[in-house]
């Protein structure tokens, strides 16, 4: 059995190694991913984002524990930042997830962001695909936790949880532009602390102000839920909301729309990458420099350069004009 077959048969070591190959963009990773693709698309992908220290890891641990009571197989991908200076990282999310140790139906993987902004690593989506294909019913992605810029999670997840804590009113204000658009569920964690109800009220108000989405036949009313992850309070309600959101997505047709959008952005990104690689192979550095100099000296326009290079790849204007045009 090769690594793909072993992964599909439920071998955790094969899955773990597959994730490494994907993370390192190893030569064989793409072919493997292509083979995994038909087996993916079943898992509900849940993103958990929010400020550092909001309790995301503990919350993820509790969510997974509750899902396990319902006999769901759960994968977790926890992303932490890489140092921009050394490329190293300390990945500490497992510390808060120790209670999940020893459960063969839970798979936790820590990922370093490796220079990507937006809260995820560049390969997170592909890593999730591997977990999905390996038969996990839900895959929970925990983002870096930097706050405002964490929009990538929308493209990777079906259901996005935005986690905040009492006493971060200013924080909510600062985040509202990005955050109101990405949350499917709001969580006010550490709700055993004073100010939880006020935080809920603030969120309600912000939601009320910002609710400008077009009228839908079956709108999703974004729940605002209070939890205390360390005490395990409010968790079953949260998990219920997560599972309900998945049902909502399928029944409203939004799941199909999202899948379409994701497929489109993925194919386009790969195509861009592919074209760039071929272009690089067809132009040497000297010639490239000549082109750039010529553009700077106003001897030729950047549009003409792009067109010439596109022609070289067989992509001139005549190649894309259809017969009859």
């Amino acid at each position: 059995m090769d690594i793909v077959e072993r992964l599909l048969a439920g071998d955790r070591r094969a899955l773990a190694r597959m994730v490494t190959l994907i993370e390192n963009d190893a030569p064989q990773a793409r072919e493997h991913l292509a083979r995994l693709h038909p087996h993916s698309g079943r898992a509900q992908i849940v993103g958990v984002t929010g400020s550092p220290g909001a309790g995301k890891s503990t919350l993820v641990m509790q969510i997974v524990r509750d899902l396990r009571k319902q006999n769901k197989k759960v994968g977790v991908v926890a992303v932490d930042p890489s140092s921009p200076f050394t490329g190293g990282a300390i990945l500490g999310d497992r510390i808060r997830m120790q209670e999940l140790a020893g459960d063969p139906n839970v798979f936790i993987r820590s990922m370093a962001s490796r220079g990507s902004l937006g809260g995820l690593a560049a390969s997170t989506r592909d890593v999730v695909r591997a977990l999905d294909a390996a038969g996990y019913d839900l895959v929970v992605i925990e983002t870096v936790g930097a706050g405002q810029a964490e929009v990538e999670i929308v493209r990777a997840a079906h259901t996005v949880l935005v986690v905040t804590v009492p006493g971060m009113g200013d924080d909510i204000q600062a985040l509202k532009a990005g955050i109101l658009e990405i949350a499917d569920i709001f969580v006010v964690n550490k709700a055993d602390r004073p100010g939880a109800d006020q935080a809920v009220a603030e969120l309600k108000m912000l939601l009320g102000l910002a609710w400008r989405r077009p009228k839908e036949a079956h709108p999703w009313h974004i729940p605002i839920l209070k939890t205390s992850a360390t005490q395990g309070e409010g968790i079953s309600e949260l998990v219920e909301a997560i599972l309900k959101h998945r049902v909502f997505l399928s029944e409203s047709g939004q799941l199909a729309q999202r899948s379409q959008r994701q497929a489109q952005s993925e194919v386009l990104a790969l195509l861009q990458h592919e074209l760039l690689l071929r272009l690089q192979a067809s132009v040497d550095n000297g010639e490239w420099q000549q082109f750039l100099d010529a553009v700077v000296e106003r001897e030729i326009s950047p549009y003409e350069v792009a067109d010439q290079l596109a022609r070289r790849l067989g992509l001139g204007h005549e190649a894309i004009s259809r017969p009859g045009d």
């Binding site: 773990a16 990945l91 798979f107």
Partner: protein, 160 residues
């Protein structure tokens, strides 16, 4: 284009003592050397260490132990790794390891055995030069035997 293999190290603190300053210093030094360090925290059982090492697909495991329980814990870790068919991971230890125990620890296949005062540069260099070559090449899997399913004991723990 393939990126260079990024070295991943699990830093674990087995046993019951809670003094993890040494482990944290090592974790930080390895990070500053450009490695990805999975830090598991204190009070790790051999099962937890091996499971984390497998899921995280690390190149190396570093166990820091001060409590004196090393001869109870280390053999178990090595046994579990063997059971799971993991044969390409560098296993190291550090902390308070009496000289007279070192031969027995090394006989288990645990390397390094860094005592107090070891310069972090030495440990970094050791990790870099002792990782299994197949791992640096991102081999699909060094070991071809399928890993056994989790033991009944592990499943039982999970149910608790």
């Amino acid at each position: 284009m393939a990126e260079a293999h990024k070295i991943r190290v699990l830093v674990a603190k087995p046993g019951l003592d809670g003094h993890d300053r040494g482990a944290k210093i090592i974790a930080r030094a390895l990070r500053d050397a450009g490695m990805e360090v999975i830090y598991t925290g204190i009070r790790q059982t051999p099962q937890m260490i091996v499971e984390a090492a497998i899921q995280e697909d690390v190149d190396a495991i570093m166990m820091s132990i001060l409590s004196g329980a090393h001869m109870a814990i280390f053999p178990k870790v090595m046994e579990l790794l063997r059971e799971q068919g993991v044969d390409d991971v560098l296993v190291m230890a550090g902390g308070i390891l009496p000289d007279e125990d070192i031969p027995a620890i090394e006989a288990l296949g645990i390397k390094g055995n860094f005592g107090p005062g070891t310069p972090t540069e030495e440990i970094i260099e050791y990790v870099k030069t002792h990782i299994h070559p197949s791992r640096l090449a991102d081999a699909p899997l060094a070991n071809t035997a399928p890993a056994p399913t989790p033991t009944a004991q592990q499943s039982e723990q999970a149910a608790n």
